[in-house]
Amino acid sequence: MLTIRLLGDSGVLISFGEVIDEEINKRVHALAQAIEKDKPEWLVEVVPAYSSLAIYYDPTLITHEEVISYVSDLKFNVEDVKGREIEIPVAYGGEFGPDIEFVAEYNGLTIDDVIEIHSKPLYRVYFLGFLPGFAYLGGMDERIATPRLEKPRTKVPAGSVGIAGKQTGWYAIESPGGWRIIGRTPLRTFNPKKVPPSIALPGDYVKFVPIDEEEFWEIYKEEWEND
């Protein structure tokens, strides 16, 4: 079911339900893509999330009623949304993943188990939000779920891959943070000099691929040196 709510005088929120669900998220992206493809002149931007999307518009050109009737009439097809499958190399443990031992112990597993369980699924990118390039991934195995740090670190390096509760993901830019860091990707997952600036796009699927330290530095040099 589709509900429409007002985001003040310059936006409307289209919601397909209040749950985190892959099929619902596909509808969000299908509608977002249909609007972006159509590019009406009053459109400012479209922001998809888990089960809803914001349409920000220019109220000097259109009213909220007209935006709502536009959306109601717009045809979109969930079949058109085809996410790519992208691989994110990750060096697990050691200096790259200082919390991996804790995650293993907390869940009664070995470090190798954690790596295997974490790198097995194909994670869905539900959307990007909160911070630049931050991907909300779905599909983590609950066997490695671990609560956040009691005291967040003041600085987590860009590319750090972590677990927070039942959630996993990476820090796209250096920032403070309370996730349990289990590894790090050498990829520059967010680069404002590129369009699109993010390596993962909403609707994509992500696979973490374990690499060793040597491979990490090889890729790291390529990604970060020409700066």
């Binding site: 005088d9 479209v46 109220p59 009213t63 369009v195």
Partner: protein
């Protein structure tokens, strides 16, 4: 070129924001008070979206290394070589001149320079967003080059007193209720609309945190499935204290939002200092859109009048004086 001499309080380059990248998690940023910033640009003949210097209460000192035309907006004290000038007006500066600004009222002031400030664009915008290191606050010794502009005829422009926005007086902020209104009790909504809320010192470009009577959530609680956050959203976390989300707000969030400040009143919110109080008043979306359209017509007319494309007339109707714009000069 201009050189930053001192930054008694934080100042940074901003334009109208990084529009179109929220789907990648990139905040919009941009000026906190869109009206004052755009008027500063109009006064020096720049387009709306030219980068300006946004300064805060303690102000800024800068030195001109070449001739330039500048304007300062906001409730600012303006000194050129220690000689007092007016805000809301454009002036020539020569090489070596020193400009000192600071605020008498409000939180943000703007300096616009003819031709705009040359700055590296990140995702199509010059806006500084400190958290992601998109630029950084200005510091003494920074040199900023200016865009090319013909300076002749640019100085001496002014905003008629009647059109200087009053963002510093009455702080009744108009809001459209929602989008998560069902997360609040009827009593909670009444509390929100009938109480005074004080802006706290923890406020910044990301959001203004308010102190005041606790807003009661319904049994649905303070959490929602993470969804997009519009400019001006009033989030209420579990402690019941509202936060107004502003320029540097994150793109999405998981707290219920009781209301959204209308676009026209965002500058008024931005210009509220910690310790000052706000009140919220509901308004319909139809009215809000009408207000915004009215504001934009005035802004456009002011820009044309400042650029000598339109004339500004004083007319008297039944003893009352009005200002009117006219589209032709002859």
């Amino acid at each position: 070129m201009i050189e930053i001499v001192a930054t008694p309080s934080p100042a940074m380059i901003q334009d109208l924001g990084r529009v179109g990248y929220q789907k990648f998690g990139v905040p919009v940023s941009g000026v906190m008070d869109e009206v004052s910033a755009r008027l500063a640009n109009y006064l020096v003949g720049n387009p709306d979206n030219c980068p300006v210097i946004e300064f805060t209460v303690g102000g800024l000192i800068l030195r001109f290394h070449s001739s330039s035309v500048f304007a300062v907006t906001g409730e600012a004290e303006v000194l050129l070589n220690d000689y007092p000038l007016e805000p809301w007006r454009s002036y020539w500066a020569k090489r070596g001149d020193v400009l000192k600004v600071r605020l008498r009222k409000g939180m943000y002031g703007y300096i616009a320079l003819a031709g705009g400030i040359d700055c590296p664009r990140i995702l199509e915008s010059c806006s500084t967003y400190v958290r992601a290191k998109f630029g950084r606050p200005l510091k003494p010794g920074d040199k900023l080059s200016l865009g090319y502009a013909i300076l002749t005829g640019k100085a001496g422009k002014t905003i008629p007193r009647k059109f200087i926005p009053n963002l510093w007086g009455d702080k009744t902020i108009r809001v459209i209720l929602g989008p998560n209104i069902e997360h609040f009790t009827a009593q909670g909504i009444r509390t929100f609309l009938s109480s005074e809320y004080e802006v706290t010192p923890e406020s910044d470009r990301m959001g203004y945190r308010l102190e005041g009577p606790k807003i009661e959530h319904s049994e649905r609680g303070a959490g929602i499935v993470t969804e997009p956050i519009p400019l001006g959203a009033v989030q209420v976390p579990a402690n019941g204290k509202p936060i107004i989300m502003l320029a540097d707000r994150q793109t999405t969030g998981g707290y219920a939002k009781i209301a959204t400040v209308i676009r026209v009143d965002i500058p008024k919110v931005a210009q509220t200092r910690p310790g000052e109080k706000l009140r919220f008043k509901p308004i319909s979306v139809q009215k809000a859109i009408k207000e915004l359209r009215k504001r934009e017509i005035t802004m456009k007319a002011l820009r044309k009048a400042i650029n000598d494309e339109w004339f500004l007339y004083k007319i008297k109707v039944r003893g009352k004086e009005f200002l009117a714009f006219s589209g032709t000069k002859d």
